[in-house]
Symmetry: D2
């Protein structure tokens, strides 16, 4: 009999999560194609089929996922009445939250009981999820809103011992994302960070994952503008077209955009976007500007505009402009699904710690210590080699 | 002592050729950087340094290369008075021409004497070039204007014997580009086709090159829009974003644009542009439209506008638009230079026939028989592997 | 009691017509705002309110307007089940057609009986329409597919006498659009030409309209790219920015686009698009290129891309680019409605012949003889003056 | 004999000023066309010909205008060696400056002596300028860098009496721009404000100008993005296309951009840009975002990108995008010249106080009290009516 994978999502009521769940439910119902799923054409032993994925998860809202989805406006009433009807009966589990870490997002469906209490309840949720749904394995994927960057001096984030002590003392330096990552690793459950938040990438948790041999990966899903940047920059390097400047601006009107109206959350986001170019090109691009604007007329649609100033042969100047009219959750949801499948494959293969071969899914790929590869074609080659299967 | 490579250019008075020559002369004079030269950062044994390249070539105009360059408007008086002064003393050798094959381009500096006579004079030119300039080796690169597509039924293009007979009989089916290719191969001189014209890619000449073990490569330099297409399409495939349509339009005002005003030459050009997408994506893109317009206000500047219609997860539609304000000759000249260096490297390594590893330089890569690789990142990997050197 | 205006549409099953009818029906039902209706904010005595408009018309298809609308994809099942339900019961009257004049469009719902017979049936339709719907007045608006340009030498189009003789002899030079225009004028019914087809603008019919004092107006609705061109060009003239070139390209995938795949229909279309610039700027723009491409992924959505090359002070070059992602029928339908209302107002005011003040609705405004005004702001001022009312 | 007009420029060493002066000198020398000069085609009695304009002015730098121009990079060595050679001999007069009002701009060529002393020296400069150059009349145009917005509560800016007292007491609330405006009005010399700085538009100075019947006009030259905005918005209003949002972003790399890196100067700039849309459309655009970024690769070239979200008939959404690759000083310089000529014409006609008919030159047109007209076509009509002459 087919093995069943449970995917427990942090932020299960969000736009990306509800889109991912609706999409998989519609595939089960036969009303969705495999368009947009990057690994749909691979035949890899052990990789869970889309139809055998079961979802659950935490959120600060207690509304049904159907109501959440309608609010986001990515899927509509037609889908919820048909292939995605399952969402109408799904309700989030109580979630960990901290307005200190994410100012614009709060809710009433909240876990209480201090850090240790929250960790225990998360682990209880994972156990109950596995039992009630007769799952063979479970992974955790964090799709919650962006948290602010931790303070540089936070003592609790420096070592395993300090972190454990911080848990005991309910240290405010430990964010909700870290609590989920800790709980998952401690419960031998793979964890991926699709948000820019700091989680399994702090030293104490990365070490913990390696020690327990639990796969972890992150961070910040590479969807629209940064994806295109890591596609184009390697080619400019290979053609020796010097990048004098790269101006990137984004407009979007979903709740992700609203969260980024908090300057502290924006800082996390820009941090993961900025480091990409210099790494690929091998020299610093002095005028690399990245802007994100909350602009309501677009809703979940997102528009990116990039202008690249180039110097070519004989010192001559050229310009390349990109305009991407994309849909945030539509690009993100299939990546979240593939991340879950890859984490699970690593777990089955007995490969723990940071999963570097999953770098192509992330704006800021977590590594075991070295510099990350940012070039998308190189990342794809690395993943293809690891997967080992053939394209259909 | 350093070895010296001669590069004999078909169409030496053109915009790409004069830009390439001026650029190398300015590098020799210390007044040009290596920006835009794709292989400047490689350290490969046997590859000729830029400073050791010497240029010559044929053209239907007899004007000095300095006068030609001023007409094209890519480099100006300042460069010709300084680093590129050598162009003022260079004059094209008499060239093969056929208004039947390229309607809008003609001139007075023309070789006479029938096909066999023209071939002999081309070979005499190559010999004299080598002696007068004390060259160690010579390669031929075709940068002339686009010729029309040969007629499907042309008997002379079917076999070696028929081709030789066509030479004897001055068969009009044999184009100037074919005469240059034949002359070069017969003189053990590598030949590359930077134009869309049919030359060493007809069966008789491809066989001839393999038999004589002479490196040949082509065709149609991949510079602006098609380059970007082969950069972006593989990434769309890897993210499973389905391409519903790709509309590409170009405006340019140089003599290349004028030649393309001849519908027969345009047909050659569009032929090399069209086949790329389906090959990379693995399915036919039904609405793939490519337009080129002669538009005088731009001169040698070229603007490409691409619109890509995509279907992603849940069948949702997205659009990606590119706008490339580039300079035709500035992108093409360094490729022509690298092609010459790679041909010469193959020659030194004793590798003859079609050089498949050079596919990244061309819109329609010539192969030994199989389907060409069009994906730019895959092409780059193939070349890098062949080169074997390290990036600086 | 309110007066009722009947609008009889040539091509009533088309995308523009069904959108206009659905929009007005939805306004009657309270489920559509007045967005997009240019004269909604005017208070002009005698102008018929939107709610008092009643539609009918001819088409080569005999399908219900509901079925036609679903095929065009501008409005959907939701509208047809609700505010626009009336379309489900409306069927086109039999229409005049000529594959000689419009190659790609034909149908079975066709009038027979020779030119005189067709004219009589059109007039019978108008009479029956007025009686059955208790209408106070009727106007005819031509929204049918573009016909080819008539041949320059067609004798029947030279004078009233020749035209009448052509009607008697079923001369093939007389197109369907001319038959509708003749029938309307002869029946004292105002006629407007929203298509690029030649109709009331041939001398015999323009004279006829003046003689009978029947309002006529045309031609070719000014919706997307040409509208923007006539908005921007006057400002460039006023700032003395010299237009060196203007490159315009369009992609669209509706049946209008398909009709334009017939090169003869395209010629009509480009004719109305081309003359605009020189007239506004006062000098010839030598590089003015206009392209239209049928591109299926877009359906009724239309995308225009314009590039304008400018010379400013000190001879310096600049570029202005426009990218308009618009919807053809959504822009056109409200213009067709306002044209009907203005024609009717002219009729009530006793003003017959060519209605020059309606020029802002058309790409190629019909005049009484002089050169047309193309500048949109000047056209708007002329209409506002004629209307005489205040903006709300 | 022809009458000569002196134009005394505040910020004469800046990019706009040196471009204007070079352009006029080159017209005198016969090496510049009249392209880009909006009123070159008018024949208006009393309007000073371009050749009869003489320039002088103040700047915090003491370098020759030739050196200043080279630094800005708008005109080059070729122009300075030829038609614009006069700039090499021109040096700015000592200027009023306040780092409190313009943080990023300072210099050594500075007037001392308190407010009253500065005013007296400015007036001495005007007198000396007129005598030395045998001028018939003089006007002052402010082209200096943007000053910050004054504080709301500044007592000195509330009334004439308070302002005079502020002058006596060297009140820091009185900015350099106000000193120039006061000095000019008091010396019966017309004054225009091409910058966003607050100057003749504070009540005490507007009253002063009316009382003395001295023409004043302002403020903030309407060149690129705002110009296009006021061209397009009226047309969207006239077609009843509802503007849901308008996102405008700018990149530029000249010293104007650097000045705007001071958030207080940026605030002045955005203030003049923001109010335009609502005024033209007649309703508030809730998502109107305007961004300006200092981006070095562009130098004086400026790129504006606008995205307009529209709702049309049947509530359907459309998008219009503009991309303007313009040159800041090339657009601004001719406006500054025409402003000087119009001010002088008003002076000759005996029309003092705020010149409302000059509104088309400004982003935030100064009025006698009412709401300003922002629509560019309406502004053009108002100016044309006032000028009264014919177009050539």
């Amino acid at each position: 009999m087919a093995e069943r994978l449970g995917v427990a999502i942090v932020g299960v009521g969000g736009a990306v999560a509800t889109t991912a769940i609706a999409g998989i439910e519609m595939i089960k119902a036969g009303s969705n194609s495999l368009d947009g799923l990057p690994l749909a054409d691979r035949d890899v032993a052990g990789m869970v089929p889309y139809r055998d994925i079961v979802f659950g998860g935490w959120d600060l809202t207690g509304d049904t996922l159907g109501d959440c989805a309608l609010r986001h406006g990515v899927i509509g009433k037609a889908e919820l009445a048909d292939g995605a009807a399952a969402l109408n009966d799904m309700r989030p589990w109580k979630a960990a939250g901290s307005t200190g870490y994410c100012a614009n997002i709060d809710g009433s469906n909240k876990l209480e009981g201090g850090h240790r209490g929250v960790v225990k309840q998360i682990q209880d949720d994972l156990r109950r999820f596995r039992e009630e749904k007769s799952l063979d394995r479970v992974v955790v994927v964090n799709l919650a809103s962006t948290e602010r960057v931790p303070n540089a001096g936070d003592a609790a984030l420096r070592s395993r011992e300090a972190f454990e002590r911080g848990l005991d003392e309910d240290d405010a330096a430990i964010s909700p994302a870290m609590l989920y990552a800790y709980a998952a690793i401690d419960a031998d459950t793979p964890y991926a960070n699709f948000t820019p938040s700091v989680a399994a990438d702090i030293a104490p948790l990365a070490d913990f994952a390696a020690e327990r041999n639990v796969p972890v990966a992150g961070k910040d899903g590479k969807t629209g503008q940064t994806f295109m940047k890591t596609v184009i920059a390697p080619a400019l390097r290979d053609r020796a077209l010097h990048v004098d400047g790269w101006f990137s601006t984004n407009i979007l009107g979903n709740s992700d955009g609203l969260a980024l109206d908090d300057p502290k959350s924006l800082q996390s986001k820009l941090g993961t976007k900025g480091s990409v170019l210099n790494s690929i090109l091998g020299y610093p691009v002095e005028d690399h500007i990245v802007m994100i604007h909350y602009y309501r007329p677009r809703g979940d649609d997102k528009e990116a505009w990039d202008n690249i100033d180039l110097t070519g042969f004989m010192g001559q100047k050229m310009q390349l402009k990109l305009n991407f009219l994309c849909k945030d959750s539509i690009l993100a949801a299939p990546l979240a699904i593939e991340i879950a499948r890859c984490l699970d494959l690593a777990k089955q293969r007995g490969e723990g710690g940071v999963q570097e071969q999953m770098g192509l899914f992330f704006k800021l790929p977590q590594t075991k210590g070295g510099e990350p590869v940012h070039s998308f074609p190189e990342q794809q080659l690395i993943l293809d080699t690891w997967l080992g299967g053939k394209r259909a």
